[in-house]
């Protein structure tokens, strides 16, 4: 029988074995496949609340009776004026009140007419995010009122209001809709990479250290199958499992976007079949390398537990490397493509931004992962015999 068909036999057996470990599979599925979409939906809920806050045309005022002209202005801007509760300070602190409070002192109107620059207070609490978000809105409303009043005063004296605004400012945001969304959905690749890690982890440890612990590695080597076929089959099974979890994780974002509560996020977050397939293509080499590296770490361990402790380094590296992009404000550096995990994170972020994937970083990460895979698999094959008898 040829080595390749022996490899296929080992692969099928290890897959069947791993797929029967229902409890582990369910934990991995819940943590890797459900967590991402759940967080996305939760995030959309938060954004929807913020959006509702921004669109709310309501100002909470204490002492509006002292400023009838301001009230008239606010209402002309189609805002509603709500009287503030008496204990608004306490309510702002305890986050029971989600709006900043505009405080108008007695005699405001008269002082304004006399040109005495009366003082208005916008009361908020930096610990109260909702009120803090609304403070800017109130400030802008007051600035508009001041502009209107000064424009009127100038007009009465025959001065053009344009003197006060010698120039005009226009804002242009260069980010595409997908680019803006990527700021929010930037955590997606992180979850997908974690799915690959946790998909591979258990099977990689079970087929190596677990086999040693059970005492089933020594009898396995008493079969006349070449060692590369045994290790290749085991690696193939681990790789297939890692990809299975990764594919499920990517596909889980497709239905997740129907559940998005924020219309803007829904419009900006474009994750269709094309993006899912690109994600999967980007993840293939990473899954291959991670499976092999985890096996190489675990083959030196006598027990599953020891292997778990040792593999923490790999798991941490895979999960923390993408964070480099957060610390690195200079954008993508040339070496990102050479670091497995980081390279895939960068590529997936580009997919989310709707940018084209360049051939060079893909080729680099493919090359690095292939080398890592081959080196690790050879390492496992070399250590298999020693691991069986020790």
């Amino acid at each position: 029988m040829s080595g390749l068909s022996l490899l296929a036999i080992v692969l099928r057996k290890e897959l069947a074995d791993a797929l029967r470990d229902r409890r582990t599979l369910i934990v991995v599925l819940v943590s890797s496949v459900l967590l991402g979409p759940l967080l996305l939906v939760a995030l959309s809920g938060l954004i929807a609340t913020l959006e509702a806050q921004a669109e709310k045309r309501e100002v909470v005022v204490s002492g509006i009776e002292h400023a009838p002209a301001l009230r008239n202005f606010i209402e002309r801007q189609s805002y509603a004026v709500t009287p503030a509760p008496a204990d608004y300070e306490a309510k702002l602190r305890s986050q029971k009140l989600g709006d900043p409070v505009l405080v108008i002192p007695p005699g405001f109107e008269a002082a304004l007419v006399r040109g005495e620059q009366p003082v208005l207070q916008v009361v908020s609490d930096t610990g109260n995010k909702a009120a803090e978000a609304g403070a800017g809105r109130v400030q802008r409303l007051l600035a508009a009122y001041m502009r209107e009043r000064s424009a009127l005063s100038l007009a009465l004296r025959g001065v053009s209001p344009q003197l006060l605004e010698p120039m005009q400012v226009e804002e242009h945001d260069l980010a595409s809709a997908q680019g803006r969304a990527a700021q929010l959905t930037g955590m997606l690749p992180f979850f997908v990479i974690m799915a690959v890690v946790y998909g591979a982890l258990n099977a990689a440890l079970d087929t190596t250290a677990g086999e040693r612990e059970r005492g089933s590695l020594e009898p396995l080597l008493a079969n006349p199958a070449p060692r590369w076929a045994l290790v290749g089959g085991k690696w193939g099974a681990v790789f297939a499992l890692a990809m299975l979890i990764a594919v499920l994780c990517c596909l889980s974002f497709l239905p997740a976007q129907w559940l998005l509560r924020s219309d803007t996020l829904q419009a900006m977050f474009q994750f269709g079949w094309v993006e899912a397939l690109r994600f999967i293509a980007v993840l293939l080499p990473l899954a291959a390398a991670l499976s092999a590296v985890l096996m190489a770490v675990a083959i030196r361990c006598k027990t599953f537990k020891e292997a778990q402790a040792n593999s923490t380094v790999v798991v941490l590296a895979a999960s923390l490397l993408p964070l480099m992009t957060l610390f690195n404000q200079g954008g993508e550096a040339w070496w990102h493509a050479w670091v497995p995990g980081l390279a895939q994170f960068t590529l997936m972020t580009r997919v989310l931004k709707g940018e084209a994937l360049a051939a060079q970083p893909i080729a680099i990460s493919l090359g690095v992962c292939s080398v890592l895979t081959v080196v690790s698999v050879v390492f496992v094959a070399r250590h298999l015999r020693a691991a069986a008898v020790r």
């Binding site: 005492g215 089933s216 009898p219 008493a222 006349p224 015999r385 008898v389």
Partner: protein, 259 residues
């Protein structure tokens, strides 16, 4: 037929020291016979049998299975051997049948042939009611039988068993003895069986010839009768103690080999 010729193996231990696990072990096991490898714990039995299975490369000496050198043709030699190693772990999430068929497939049998062999072995090892059950909940005896069936799935001409009765109760031990006797007989295929143990009663009841190993060396070999005659003892236990623990009990180990 299995022939072990003066093998030696030294392991590197901590702090630059080394341990001579096997110094000079030799054994000749012809077909149709059960040959015992008898020795106290730590005598080098498991290391010797691991060298036979190609898991450890010997420093010196030669191991042959049906004339095939294990060093140069390890896979051809393994294909002619059924090895029940010291470690006999099963894949616990697979059924007994799946465990057996998996090894059959690795030995190069077709799917149908592997299933047919599994059925035949289930019959002869009394495994039938267990075949479709996951091996997770098996008792020691049930695990041993499954592991034995797995080792014999390709119907090898040579069978190597490393302390097969470890952890078995008296009934399971008896059943195993019956199986081995059957495999030795012409009806069972006239197999060459090598059997390591530290229990002399087993050797007395089962083995056609014995090789006594102590401190990594073969100190005597022959039939039970020959060893008794050589030591001038009536009781095989006394004979074994004399042969294996000569140094410890202060007598010179000058007894040589009889066969």
């Amino acid at each position: 037929m299995i022939r072990i010729d003066h093998v030696a193996k030294c392991f590197a231990a901590a702090r630059g020291r080394s341990v001579q696990a096997v110094a000079d072990v030799h054994l000749h096991a012809p077909d149709g016979c059960i040959t015992g490898l008898l020795g106290p714990n730590g005598a080098g039995k498991t290391t010797t049998l691991r060298m036979l299975a190609g898991l450890i490369t010997p420093d010196a000496g030669r191991l042959e299975v049906d004339g095939l050198d294990v060093a140069t043709q390890p896979r051809a030699a393994l294909a002619r051997m059924g090895v029940l190693a010291d470690a006999r772990g099963l894949s616990l999430r697979l059924s007994a049948r799946e465990n057996i068929v998996y090894y059959g497939r690795l030995q190069g049998l077709s799917r149908d042939a592997a299933h047919a062999r599994a059925d035949a072995l289930a019959e002869s090892l009394d495994l039938k009611p267990l075949m479709e059950r996951r091996t997770d909940g098996f008792s020691q005896g049930e695990r041993m039988k499954t592991a034995l069936a797995r080792a014999l799935v390709h119907d090898p001409a040579n069978i190597v068993l490393d302390e097969p009765t470890n952890g078995l109760d008296v009934l399971a031990t008896r059943a195993l003895r019956e199986v081995l006797r059957h495999l030795r007989s012409p009806a069972g295929g006239g197999k060459c069986i090598v059997f390591s143990t530290h229990i002399m009663q087993e050797v007395e009841r089962l083995c056609d010839s014995v090789s006594v190993v102590a401190h990594g060396r073969t100190v005597a070999s022959g039939t039970v009768g020959e060893l008794l005659a050589q030591t001038g003892e009536q009781d095989f236990e006394e004979a074994f103690v004399k042969l294996a623990f000569a140094e410890e009990i202060g007598r010179p180990a000058s007894l040589g080999t009889a066969a």
